[in-house]
Amino acid sequence: MPVALKEGLAVLDGACTVEEAEPLLQWLRETPDAQVDLGGCTALHAALAQLLLAERPRVVAPPPDPVLAAALASPLAIQVTR
């Protein structure tokens, strides 16, 4: 199970696919002050990434890929212009 949803902490491990999006969203809805652990996450599906950005749970361990980590951590200050 790549995504382990525990009490207050979701651990995303290995390759996390689109199938995890529904349970993760459900969990986020139910869990106030949610925390996520991406320390072992090698691949993160876009659907999961956008959930994390929408809800911004506290990331206790960033993903190992620094570029991805920076992307998830960056404040969305960029205006999207066409």
Partner: protein, 740 residues
């Protein structure tokens, strides 16, 4: 990159050369008649076509440079900008650069590695005259624009990107149903090699969590990668319409690197101001913390600006002062930008193509058809001879008939191939308007170049061999011949000097003249000069007629310019020019009148491929001498050969002709028995009439002389080889070299 295999590129190269040439011509015409519409349109069209076709290939710097030039021309065409000589220089320089790149494409199939760097500075200089308004639309053009989001990135993020390398910027906006097709946009973006920046941006404000649909894609992906554009395009080939991929040339982030001394000076001033800010104020300073914080913030900006992302900034005053010192040291260590290095000379001899009229090829094709028929007739004849239905006499007659037929076809083919190799002299002439313009501008002289008879045709080898000697002679005329405008006016001449380059066909020869109306040669100075340089005894120099004195410039080691200028004095004297021309079987003569001008005349054979050779014997061996050099053949009784010092000479029609012995020149043994009569070949070599004692004269033949190659290459004294009728190899003498 195996660009050379691309047939489209093969077509592009000659086309690009043509367009560049066309543009160069139009530009020069435009400079003579500013505001003329026709050359302007031609120039614009050439650049526009070049931009369009270059876009087919993976050579963004090339396209970018053409585009910048086109923008400049667009402004000039619309009358917003005057085409000044300085601007023309810039454009000509750009054309040169493009030409060099085309040469690189022709040899390696790719642009040189530094092209992306070179294009930045050049495009910048081309855009500069347009001013900010002019530059704006150019920047908005699709192939040159930086994506807006890049500019909106925070300074820290931009500063963290690798410098000095071309990058790729990607903006990928997948459609919202992409998850249902099994796509993972984030996974796709993360496959981009060399990914160095990634930002995920929501396309719309996030809805409340309970309305969020997890299976709808709502993000745009912005990325910068250190990867080839082609690779990124390949990755996104299935969603190409949703991805915006832009190549970022080196130095795209103009603010970041401390690129010039100006920026470095600004940084120094800023650093000095921070030092004063930190050091200001006494011990009891209520706003000390504020000052430190302000200085620290400025210093962090300085670091970001200069790209020193590794610099750590302490909190306290002492630490900040240390950081300032460190930054100043870094500024000192950054070398000022090197002045743009001179362009390396383009390597010559990329494979050349020859454009041939269809009709000439058709003629060849027909002749091949005839040759095949003639060949078949020989097989038929052989069969008849086998069946012994022919007498020997009949057979001989039949063979002669066939031989006559083959011989006719061979001659016709020779003619047809010659015709293919004929090029108009224009090919060489067309480089001169530019050359003359550039040099005249450099020397502040006013010169008009007149080209005549460019349509005259000559063999490709001859036309190509002409280029260097002509360049040298024209340079000489510009440098030494044409006077400064003031001097011309004082001499009662028009201010504008004229250099006339003309070509015409005369029987089997092409005559090319380089004439100027400059100051001409001064026989008195020439005499003084050869005496001074020890090239000739003063007494002998004094006896020369004025006309003969002018010929002194052909002496090896002669140079009239008191100082060797960078134009004429390239270590190449007129002697080399003359021997270059003689090597291809031509002659160079000179006529000059002090104060009126100088005229060089080159007489070249129309075609080189077939040379008439005189065969001569020397002992057992046979040698060939090009007929072009042979003035006459004489037999001279031994007693008429006189010794003059260590030389021999004889009198021919009241002129003393020095004599050399071929056997000595070639280190061959002398003939054992001294003949009563010497066979002397009188030749015209290096502008001098000389006698060459040979063993015997043999027949004159027509031959195709092949240059020496392989182990024989570079063998001095021999110009090439050909085959004799009996299969033996005939060495052809290079008399100008041998008798030097």
């Amino acid at each position: 990159m195996s660009g050379l295999a691309n047939p489209l590129l093969q077509q592009f190269i000659p086309e690009a050369r043509d367009l560049l040439e066309q543009a160069g011509r139009a530009l020069l015409a435009l400079e003579r008649q500013p505001g003329a519409a026709a050359p302007m349109n031609e120039l614009f069209r050439a650049m526009h076509t070049l931009k369009g076709t270059s876009g087919l290939f993976d050579m963004a710097p090339f396209t970018r440079l053409v585009h910048a030039a086109e923008d400049l021309l667009g402004a000039a065409q619309a009358g917003r900008l005057a085409l000044t000589p300085a601007l023309a220089d810039l454009l000509l320089d750009t054309l040169d650069q493009l030409g060099l790149w085309v040469d690189a494409l022709a040899t390696t199939g790719a642009l040189p590695a530094d092209a992306a760097v070179a294009v930045e500075a050049r495009a910048g200089r081309l855009r500069a005259p347009l001013g900010p308004q002019g530059a704006a639309p150019a920047e908005a053009a699709p192939d040159a624009a930086l994506p807006g989001w890049l500019e909106a990135l925070p300074q820290e993020a931009r500063a963290a990107l690798p410098r000095g390398r071309p990058l790729v910027a990607l903006r990928y906006t997948p459609d919202e149903h992409c998850f249902f097709r099994g796509e993972d946009p984030l996974g796709l973006v993360r496959q981009v090699p060399g990914l160095c920046l990634l930002r995920l941006v929501p396309l719309a404000p996030w809805p409340p969590l309970d309305q969020l649909d997890p299976f709808r894609s709502t993000l745009a992906y912005l990325a910068v990668a250190d990867a080839p554009v082609a690779t990124v395009e390949e990755l996104f080939r299935y969603v190409r319409d949703q991805a915006e991929i832009v190549a970022l040339p080196v130095g795209w982030d103009a603010v970041a690197p401390v690129a010039d001394t100006g920026a470095a000076e600004t940084l120094r001033a800023v650093l000095a101001a921070q030092r004063r800010l930190i050091e200001a104020g006494g011990a009891e300073d209520p706003i000390a913390d504020g000052r430190m914080a302000a200085a620290r913030m400025v210093l962090s900006r300085v670091a970001a600006q200069a790209g020193w992302t590794d610099a750590a900034l302490p909190e306290d005053a002492a630490g900040l002062l240390g950081a300032i010192a460190g930054f100043e040291a870094r500024l000192d260590a950054t070398p000022p930008p090197a002045p743009e290095a001179a362009l390396p000379e383009a390597p010559r001899a990329a494979p050349t193509t020859l454009r041939v009229e269809q009709a000439k090829i058709d003629t060849l094709m027909n002749l091949i058809g005839e040759l095949v028929v003639a060949k078949n007739a020989l097989a038929w004849l052989a069969r008849r001879a086998e069946q012994e239905s022919l007498s020997v006499r009949e057979l001989a007659r039949e063979i002669k008939d066939r031989q006559a037929l083959v011989s006719r076809i061979a001659e016709a083919m020779q003619g047809a191939v010659m015709a293919v190799r004929m090029l108009p002299v224009e090919q060489v002439f067309q480089r001169f308007p530019r050359l003359v313009r550039d040099i005249a501008r450099r020397l502040d002289k006013q010169v008009e170049l007149v080209l005549e008879g460019g349509e005259t045709e000559a063999d490709k080898t001859i036309v190509e061999a002409l280029a260097d000697p002509l360049v040298h002679m024209v340079r000489n005329s510009l440098d030494h011949g044409i006077e400064m405008p003031a001097e011309r006016i004082a001499a009662g001449k028009p201010e504008l000097g004229t250099i006339r380059l003309s070509a015409m066909a005369e029987n089997e020869h092409v005559v090319i003249r380089v004439e100027d109306d400059g100051r001409g040669l001064d026989p008195a100075r020439l005499r003084a000069r050869v005496a001074e340089k020890g090239l000739m005894e003063p007494a002998r120099a004094a006896t020369l007629t004025d006309e003969e004195a002018c010929q002194l410039i052909f002496l090896p080691g002669f140079s009239t310019a008191a100082e060797v200028s960078d134009l004429s004095g390239r270590g190449v004297g007129m002697d080399v020019v003359r021997s270059t021309i003689e090597r291809v079987g031509g002659r160079l003569t000179l006529a000059s009148r002090k104060g009126e001008g100088t005229r060089f005349e080159i007489i070249l054979p129309l075609s080189m491929a077939v040379t008439r050779l005189m065969t001569i014997a020397c002992g057992e061996r046979l040698f060939g001498v090009p007929m072009g050099l042979v003035a006459e053949t004489v037999r001279v009784p031994r007693e008429r050969l006189r010794r003059v010092g260590d030389r021999e000479a004889f009198v021919l029609r009241e002129r003393l002709v020095p004599v050399l012995r071929l056997a000595r020149l070639l280190d061959l043994p002398d003939a054992e028995a001294m003949p009563d009569e010497e066979a002397i070949l009188v030749v015209q070599v290096n502008g001098q009439r000389l006698g060459l004692v040979v063993g015997a004269f043999r027949e004159v033949m027509e031959a195709i002389v092949r240059p020496l190659d392989g182990v024989l290459a570079g063998l001095p004294g021999f110009g090439g080889t050909t085959l004799l009728g009996d299969g033996r190899v005939l060495l052809v003498l290079d008399l100008p070299e041998l008798m030097r």
